[in-house]
Amino acid sequence: MPEQILPFYVVCDQSYSMADHVDGLNDGLRELHRAVGTDPVVADKTRFCLIGFSGDAEVLQPLCALSDVVGIADLVVSPATSFGAAFTVLRETIERDVGRLKSAGHRVYRPAVFFLSDGQPTDPGTWPAAYDRLVDPAWHLRPNIIAFGIGDADEETIRRVGTVRAFMSQGGLGPGLALHEFARALTSSVVSSGEVTEAGDLVLRIPRTVSGFTALQVDQV
């Protein structure tokens, strides 16, 4: 049956620097899965995809309704932090997924991307071009990006990646707790966005504040 669908893409840094915290992040994603997957209304209106990136990027959980899968793949660490690989795979994946949903007759809303990194890109010369292709105003599927930086992430880079909102973890917040708060914010966003408004639409809802994070000013154009 044709439905209104809001796709969420979670793009997570799984470089070596995440080694000590990746289990906590995987736990947070399992919580997200349980909360959304056991909520028929929200699971019906949203879709979820997990992309992990390090030296390259891979789709760990292809786009799905979270009620349709009984588990999601874990993030596993490996070397390097290629933002460029992440943005390239993300654009290709969105293009393919949305095309598939539309051909099935669904009404698809602009995808939402939750991007998380704990370090600086190891491809500083090339990632901006991949990013520009992802947010190209001429590309009608360009997603709304909410960027989160923790640990050694560069505030300016995180601000630049986020198109609608960006958050940087505060110094006093340990990475484990920061990832927990990231997962909570993501879950809250998916659950609240999965409710049709009184006007009959889906609206992307993002927490204005995330505990332990500073909200960065995102450039308006």
Binding site: H33, R34, T38, P40, S67, E198, G200
Partner: protein, 270 residues
């Protein structure tokens, strides 16, 4: 009866839900008592809340028992610095809670309105006959509320629970949105999308709009379809008696009373 209490006097054990209007905590001490603490921006009419809390005392004993067994009716107001900031209510009995994917989950009506999914494959779903008997329970609850001049207002797939443990049973949450006919609610609630009476003004429920929403509950429950409405072509999906009621539900001002559904549900073929 919990009565009025001060927030500072309550021992809060654990947060269990964070909804649109407030956060719900389990209270330390008496078993099964919950605190709903409203978000700062929610306006609470303390007088109306007090009136609502006292209301069941005036019901006939069978109605009072049914409401006590089937609703999280508020049982106390919670004050902080002279302002009503929350309420106390009873927790849904354990029979309305299940375990899905290793975590406790309220048995919300929504599970009965969507096709079964792998994530809740372990959930024991009602048979067609049990769906009918659940529909009877919802109609009975509405009948008692309406009979005592109470409107439900916001009806949704989340604030109605069901159970098959010890026979079909139902339970209503978010009762602070209930109101006496002709009076304002203690707390204003938005209508849930997909559960709005097209003939009613938003936020201004009437007996007729409540009856329309009961029709949605009955039809969606019987047909296991979250989107069906009385205006859809239901020929072939319901028996003639129910079809006639659905047809009336589609006409503002002529919606069937809760009691009208009971005989039709007694021998229904779906």
């Amino acid at each position: 009866m919990a009565g009025d209490v001060q927030l500072a006097d309550l021992g809060v054990a654990r947060q269990i839900a964070d909804g649109g209007q407030g956060v719900v905590f389990r209270v330390a001490g008496p078993d099964g008592l919950l605190l709903k603490l409203y978000h700062d921006e929610v306006r609470v009419n303390a007088d109306e809340l007090g009136r609502l809390i006292a209301l069941p005392e005036g019901f006939a004993p069978p109605d009072r028992r049914l409401v006590a067994a089937s609703t999280a009716w508020p049982c106390g107001r919670v004050f902080h610095r002279g302002r009503c900031v929350g309420l106390l209510m009873r927790e849904a009995p354990p029979r309305f809670v299940t375990s899905i994917a290793g975590a406790p989950r309220l048995l919300e009506l929504q599970f009965l309105l969507y096709p079964r999914r792998p994530m809740w494959r372990e959930l024991v779903m009602p048979s067609a006959d049990e769906r009918r008997r659940l529909a009877v329970r919802y109609a009975r609850l509405f009948q008692v509320l309406h009979g005592n001049g109470v409107l439900v207002g916001d009806v949704s797939m989340r604030n109605l629970l069901w159970s098959l443990v010890r026979g079909p049973g139902v339970f209503a949450l978010d009762c602070d949105g209930f109101r006496l006919l002709g009076r304002r609610p203690a707390v204003r609630q938005a209508d849930t999308a997909g559960w709005v009476d097209p003939a009613a003004r938003i936020g201004l429920p009437t007996l007729d709009s409540d009856r329309y929403k009961l029709a949605l509950v009955v039809l969606r429950l019987l047909l296991a379809d979250h989107a069906v409405t009385p205006t859809d072509d239901l020929g072939g999906r319901l028996d003639p008696e129910l079809l006639e009621l659905a047809d009336r539900a589609a006409r503002p001002g002529e919606r069937p009373a809760a009691a009208d559904w009971l005989p039709a549900l007694a021998g229904v073929q779906v």
